[in-house]
Symmetry: C2
Subunit: 534 residues, 2 copies
């Protein structure tokens, strides 16, 4: 098979989650979010972290101020500030945005420059030679101030298509003025991998160090990045989890894993690579954008097998059915329980959770129960803790810490400091019957407080239980508010994380069921290890 190229002597992983990634619809990052993400990126092992555009908005300015004030001490990565070339008909030294770039006090600055002639003439409204002067002046001023300068050549590929000579001239002028890397940006994201090689090779031939910045508008952000790298780019820009404007940027996790595991390039250490899944989850937790289970390498489903066909064959040799060892990226293989699964899959899942389901009748009975429950709307694929409880129930191994006798919840627009909802629960715990009332914001919060109040005297560890995510999904559309609802709750006690599921026509009832199961599982005497954050 085609031999892949060897790694260049210097290669840059350049992360722009904090700048271009933040352009994603629905994404909003505070200064504190940005600092947290920067620390995650630094721990992971990227070479460069683009922190934002100082002077363009208060958040980014404050981020760089905080970093300069010592709130961000990077161990591995170099911080970069993003900006633009100076305004037309002016000088770099007198441009307030260039001043803001210097004030950010970063080792690297990355300035965006127009490389598409139409954009110069129509969006920038200046002439082609002034644009070149703006680039040369800005780069040489910033290098003169002691900065390492990278130049983002905006709309480079559309520009090359329209006027290749001018686009290449922009690269040449930037490099001659002292730019360390000139990054070819597929700003509108319309390129295809088979078109990349020729264009990137033409730019590389000019002698500059070339970088690549791709968007996913043709579904090829990663492949376009790889094609550019094969053609000689020694610097790749991307974002964690592919965040970014429109369809997003190239996912730096996928690019880094492809380069490490398919090309064998040392772009990350083995230890860093094995943190990739954790990095994806950490950024998802900060951005509040749910992780994509189908994300290459690090998605929850990336090494999950459902087909009965595979289920039985995987027993032979798992490596016949996965393209890499998932542990290399900190992920793991999972067997899915589903109504498409046969007994073999249920047995494998049982093994995973520590249950002996080798008895065929028992396995068949449990398979029937799972099929029935999934028909009602339950999904155990994503709720290992609920599945564990079901297995214990069916095998007679469930020893519940408490039993609920009654519950109710009332919500109204009558709001006090203690909430707008009131709930009562009546539970039997250690042969005592306790009725407790809880207040809170929302019925689930009130129910949670009431249940905690009832359980805490006998089970003080519930004080450490914390709900970390709560997802509601309507299962049947077209039925209005009485559709069937599935609720998934993630709970943690600081060490373990577990997911439970509830189903009903009522969001409160389904939530209560998932909450109830979360406490029940958390209080099991010898719960299975279930540390995966799902």
């Amino acid at each position: 098979m085609t031999v892949l190229p060897v790694a260049p002597p210097t290669f840059h992983l350049y992360d722009t989650t904090l700048r271009d990634g933040a352009q994603q619809e629905g994404l909003r990052l505070s200064v504190s979010d940005k600092l947290k993400i920067a620390r995650v990126l630094d721990d992971w092992g990227v070479g460069f972290i683009e922190g934002g555009w100082p002077g363009a908005n208060p958040t980014d300015t404050a981020f760089f101020a905080a970093a300069a004030a010592g709130e961000l001490s990077l161990r591995n990565a170099t911080l970069a500030a993003f900006g633009a070339t100076r305004r037309a008909g002016s000088t770099a030294s007198s441009d307030p945005l260039i001043r803001a770039l210097l004030d950010a006090e970063t080792e690297v600055v990355c300035v965006v420059a127009k490389s598409h002639d139409e954009h110069v003439l129509r969006a920038l409204r200046t002439d082609l030679s002034e644009n070149l002067a703006m680039i040369a002046d800005t780069v040489s001023f910033l290098t003169g101030e002691g900065r390492r300068v990278f130049v983002d050549a905006e709309h480079f590929f559309d520009g090359y298509r329209a006027n290749a000579a001018y686009a290449l001239q922009v690269v040449e002028v930037a490099a001659q003025a002292g730019a360390e890397v000139v990054v070819l940006c597929d700003t509108n994201g319309g390129m295809l991998p088979s078109q990349m090689g020729e264009v990137v090779a033409a730019a590389v031939q000019g002698g500059a160090h070339i970088g690549i910045h791709c968007h996913n508008d043709t579904g090829c952000a990663v492949a376009n990045s790889l094609a550019a790298i094969e053609a000689g780019a020694m610097h790749v820009q991307g974002t964690i989890n592919g965040h970014g404007e429109r369809t997003g940027n190239a996912d730096l996790i996928t690019v880094a894993a492809d380069l490490s595991l398919k090309y064998g390039w040392p772009v990350l250490s083995d230890e860093s690579l094995a943190r990739s899944t954790a990095v994806s989850h950490a950024v998802a937790a900060i951005t509040h954008v749910a992780p994509n289970p189908r994300q290459p390498y690090v998605g929850a489903s990336a090494f999950a097998h459902k087909a009965g066909l595979h289920g039985s064959a995987i027993k032979v040799d798992a490596n016949l059915y996965q393209h890499i060892d998932p542990r290399r990226v900190g992920n793991d293989m999972r067997m899915l329980v589903s109504d498409m699964a046969g007994r073999a899959n249920i047995q494998l899942k049982g093994d995973e959770l520590g249950f002996d389901l080798s008895d065929r009748d028992l396995a068949a009975r449990i398979t029937e129960v799972v099929k029935q429950r999934e028909m009602e709307g339950y999904s155990y694929e994503s709720a290992d803790a609920s599945f564990d409880l079901l297995l214990r129930q069916e095998t007679g191994a469930l020893d519940p810490a408490f039993e609920v006798l009654r519950w109710r919840a009332l919500t109204s627009d009558d709001v006090t400091d203690d909430g707008d909802s009131e709930a009562t629960v009546k539970v039997r715990v250690d042969d005592q019957v306790l009725a407790r009332v809880g207040e809170g914001f929302g019925p689930l919060n009130a129910l949670d407080h009431a249940l905690r109040a009832a359980l805490e005297p006998s089970h003080p560890e519930v004080a450490g239980f914390e709900l970390t995510d709560y997802r509601v999904r309507i299962l049947e559309t077209g039925h209005g508010t009485d559709a069937i609802v599935r609720v998934l709750i993630d709970t943690t006690d600081g060490e373990r994380s577990w997911t439970t599921v509830g189903v009903g026509t009522n969001v409160v009832e389904a939530s209560w069921e998932a909450l109830h199961d979360a406490y029940l599982w958390g209080l099991l005497d010898a719960p299975q290890s279930m540390q995966r954050a799902r």
Copy 2:
């Protein structure tokens, strides 16, 4: 720039959403779901629809029975049934699964065959020559029964790497036995685009018609498909929205749009291509998998612009900032309102909704309000109807059809046929004060019923309002059940769809706010057209 190849005389778009797509974690399709999706695919314009594996599970068998019984009359597409080669040491004519394939009564059958020597020896546990005999026997038997036969060469690329001669022999044997197309499957998904060309060209050189089937494990499913097509594959398999096991299959929507709009190949008519966004949404509605806003071409964000930089430049010429005209795929450009947005973006958004915000003070005031509300957790990017209400409020143009004076909701474990919840609302409508009670499953359902009861006498059109989706998102993790919650509700009246947002520490209160806004917007005298299903 590199010239792309011209279209081959015959080219197949082969959809396997109903078979391989259904392997996705969390996806469950009933017979009725499958029939609905098949109708959507047929309307769209794919050449082939793989309906499932008859005999392998009751759902797929029932699907083909329903199709044969006339419940599925395809106008454009050809239905295909999926199966495997006969068992080792047997005959095709006596194999019950081959019989089930014939019983499915489809014009096309697609049989999967092993093409990786290790899989033959270790998973199938037979010898290499018997595997070839199984392929030849199965294909010639099925063609003898009048079927068009396609062969899926499973694990072809890993097989080629291990034993190229044997992998190519599988292709040759299948073609000689009468297979119309031999589909090279990257079953484990580990390929890269630059490795595709040589392998596919070797298979094409053998003389068989070659197809391609890719998964997204390296983030390159679309690019690998395109590389194979450039090397001579005349048949591409994929799924709508990229559904599929692990990281999913190649997204057939992206592949078709790339081939149509980048290569200029007539794989879909212009009218079909313009239905792509609707096809993506229709399948999402049936699968209950939320559409990916970043999906290339058809995602809600695919042509959405947030950057202040772009916001002002887009006024010059939108085509400078998008890689295609979004209407070609049935999508449209959107300006996003966000706390990163300047006044320019708010004004553009106002234009879109029909508000004149050219007054700078007014625009600045609204920008401040939006920033404040977004800080509290509101997101107007995804809730155009709530943003419309906010603009009306701020410009004094809001003429609400009703005013809520009081509400409350009670839920308990005391369930009757009318539900487990009771709600009361007191509203002023047309100078009348009405208090109404509603029962339902869950507080939102009960509140919905109570509000409808109060509004219906004066506004009978509310009977046609239907909640179609309901999404809950926790905005702050680590705060347990009292975290801030954002609720988005999609409502339709059969013609228009609109999205509203509610925020609070209480899921019921936030849901009530979104529900209230949904009725308020739906009852506006002259609501703006807002037909996009978000």
